[in-house]
């Protein structure tokens, strides 16, 4: 009798310890990055592009990377939304409930979700050689669009699956076509869509392996789709590779910027999804 209580106590202690470890790792990571990054962070970092000798420790900032990342994520959002929104509407509200096509599409996106970003990068690169595009903003947009599409589709699909069938049924019985019904449903699913967008932005903005091949790197802000574009993760990576201490410090500062952006995105995604759940119940 006593033995089983002791065993329970031992394992419960282990469980609590490992839970605490996981939470502390998160704080340790964020703490380290902020602690190292904040002192080197100043307004120049955010508002200036790298000057001459930036990688030797001279003046400048990472505005090129911030703007590059923004351009790429905006472009890939447009492509991602254009594909995943109709797709989710189609498999949820056009196809019958137990459709094999819907199952197959969901399954293939589950697998696409697992494909590592370096493979998307290599594929994007091969595609660009085939089309004759050089490393450019456009290349980066295509690679990141491929990367975020599965995330966007899956998380939007989760919400769409939960929507009560009453609404589409009511719309159809009032004589709406499926297309008109879809327009109403999208409005209803808006919070879910926002969550999906925030999650994809978080993943897309932080990825380095996919843009390494495809977007290239530059000290300037790209003015057209054909020009190479810098990205924040790559700028962190390259600055950290420098032997100069000041440049390394700026890598930490850039890492702090990226971490703060991700924190905000992740927390607001959770806020929107919880708000949606509240409305539902």
């Amino acid at each position: 009798m006593k033995a089983k209580k002791t065993e329970e106590l031992i394992f419960k202690t282990f469980m609590i310890i490992s839970s605490i470890i996981i939470i502390s790792i998160l704080f340790y990571i964020i703490g380290t990055i902020i602690y190292k990054g904040l002192p080197a962070l100043d307004i120049d970092m955010l508002t200036k592009i790298p000057g001459g000798g930036f990688f030797l420790g001279k003046e400048g900032g990472v505005l090129n990377a911030i703007v590059g990342s923004l351009y790429i994520i905006l472009g890939s959002l447009v492509i991602g939304l254009a594909i995943s929104v109709p797709l989710v509407i189609y498999i949820n509200f056009y196809l019958p409930k137990k459709s094999w096509l819907a199952t197959l599409v969901r399954f293939s996106f589950d697998i696409l979700f697992g494909v590592p970003s370096i493979v998307y990068g290599a594929f994007g690169f091969a595609l660009m050689i085939f089309l004759g595009i050089r490393a450019s903003l456009l290349g980066g947009i295509i690679a990141i669009a491929l990367l975020i599409m599965p995330i966007m589709m899956r998380s939007f699909d989760e919400v769409a699956k939960l929507l009560s069938r009453d609404l589409p049924d009511a719309l159809l019985s009032l004589g709406a076509t499926r297309y008109e019904m879809a327009k109403v449903i999208i409005k209803q699913l808006m919070p879910g869509l926002v969550t999906a967008i925030l999650l994809s932005v978080g993943r897309g903005i932080g990825d380095a392996a996919a843009v390494l091949f495809t977007a290239g790197y530059t000290d300037n802000i790209p003015t057209s789709l054909g020009q190479p574009a810098a990205t924040l993760p790559l700028s962190i990576f390259f600055q950290l590779g420098s032997p100069v201490e000041e440049v390394q410090n700026r890598a930490y500062a850039s890492a702090a910027i990226l971490t703060l952006v991700i924190l905000i995105l992740s927390l607001s995604a959770r806020y929107f999804s919880s708000k949606y759940q509240k409305n539902k119940i």
């Binding site: 089983k4 065993e7 329970e8 419960k12 282990f14 469980m15 490992s18 839970s19 996981i22 939470i23 790792i25 998160l26 990571i29 964020i30 380290t32 990055i33 190292k36 594909i83 109709p86 189609y90 498999i91 197959l104 599409v105 996106f109 697998i111 696409l112 697992g114 494909v115 590592p116 970003s117 370096i118 493979v119 990068g121 290599a122 594929f123 690169f125 091969a126 085939f130 599409m149 076509t177 499926r178 297309y179 008109e180 932080g206 990825d207 392996a209 390494l212 091949f213 993760p233 790559l234 962190i236 990576f237 950290l240 930490y252 890492a255 971490t259 991700i262 924190l263 992740s266 959770r270």
Partner: protein, 298 residues
């Protein structure tokens, strides 16, 4: 008026069907493209030689993938050995013991851990893990280690796959019907006995699927590993030696790869291998997990 509405509806329907079919083809297109790019090197040498040779001398035309494959396996094995007990214990705790409040605290923690970009894990690894290994851990075992090592890669990867493991395991445990655990508890079993005899036993396939899925995630992780592994194309002798996983190899050489014959093709073969193995791992584990999800829900 009525006619236009119907035409719009029809067009939209066909367009959507087109998108659905296109998206199904995407996996196939990625696979075929990479394979097509890898063909030149496979014509020169047999796949067997490429995979088992330890010689990586692109300048001489030697492309042996063995050190990279071994490195990838090493770091992923260390990652799962560290991450599995932690995530099992945590998800059992969240599922069986934790109050609703504690679960609520954990959700954003897992969200954030999985949201932190790989490059940040890499920066953190080189700031925290690498010096820890170089100064504190390795002196007890070997004469010298720079810290950029198999162990550093494994540790960083372990943390990176933690959120995935915890969230899948929690799902798996949640799929077990409450009647089963209630029955066990009603017979006088303690919570831990119920966990051991009912929950763990019932979810064994789910746990294995979760492991396979997170190992495949570890296989493909690039930037973070690249930043802490040291990247020397030799077979590591101990966990304190540098290693060079396959994704890091691909990422590190993208600039040079255009200039040498066979080089680009060899790297594309690397990408194809990654894609193919991860595809299989993902397909198997997703199928298993989907089955588990459907088993108890009617």
């Amino acid at each position: 008026m009525r006619y236009i509405r119907v035409v719009k509806d029809r067009t939209a329907r066909h367009l959507m069907l087109g998108i659905a079919l296109f998206s199904l083809l995407l996996l196939l297109v990625i696979g075929i493209t990479l394979l097509f790019k890898a063909l030149p090197i496979m014509r020169e040498k047999s796949l067997g030689t490429l995979l088992t040779s330890g010689n990586w001398k692109p300048f001489k035309g030697d492309f042996g993938f063995y050190p990279f494959i071994i490195s990838t396996l090493y770091v992923s094995a260390i990652a799962i050995i560290i991450a599995l007990p932690l995530s099992l214990l945590t998800s059992i705790y969240l599922n069986t013991y934790a109050t609703k409040g504690i679960r609520k605290i954990f959700e954003p923690v897992i969200d954030l851990l999985s949201g932190i970009p790989p490059v940040i894990y890499g920066v953190w690894g080189s700031l925290a893990i690498v010096p820890l290994i170089a100064e504190k851990i390795s002196p007890h075992f070997v004469e010298f280690s720079s810290g950029y090592s198999v162990l550093a890669g494994g540790l960083v990867l372990a943390i990176m796959i933690l959120p995935l493991l915890v969230s899948i395991l929690t799902e798996v445990f949640r799929s077990i019907p409450k009647e089963m655990t209630d029955a066990s508890l009603a017979m006088g079993a303690t919570k831990w006995q119920t966990v051991k005899k009912v929950i763990l036993r019932k979810s064994l396939t789910g746990i294995i699927a979760a492991i396979v899925l997170s190992v495949s995630r570890a296989f493909g992780e690039t930037i973070a590993v690249l930043m802490v592994c040291g990247n020397i194309p030799l077979i590591p002798k101990s966990v304190f030696d540098a290693c060079y996983p396959l994704p890091a190899l691909i990422a590190n050489n993208y600039g040079e790869m255009m200039s040498m014959p066979g080089y680009e093709s060899a790297l594309m073969l690397g990408a194809f291998l990654l894609f193919f193995i991860i595809l299989i791992f993902n397909a198997v584990s997703r199928l298993t997990l989907n089955q588990i999800e459907n088993r108890y829900s009617l």
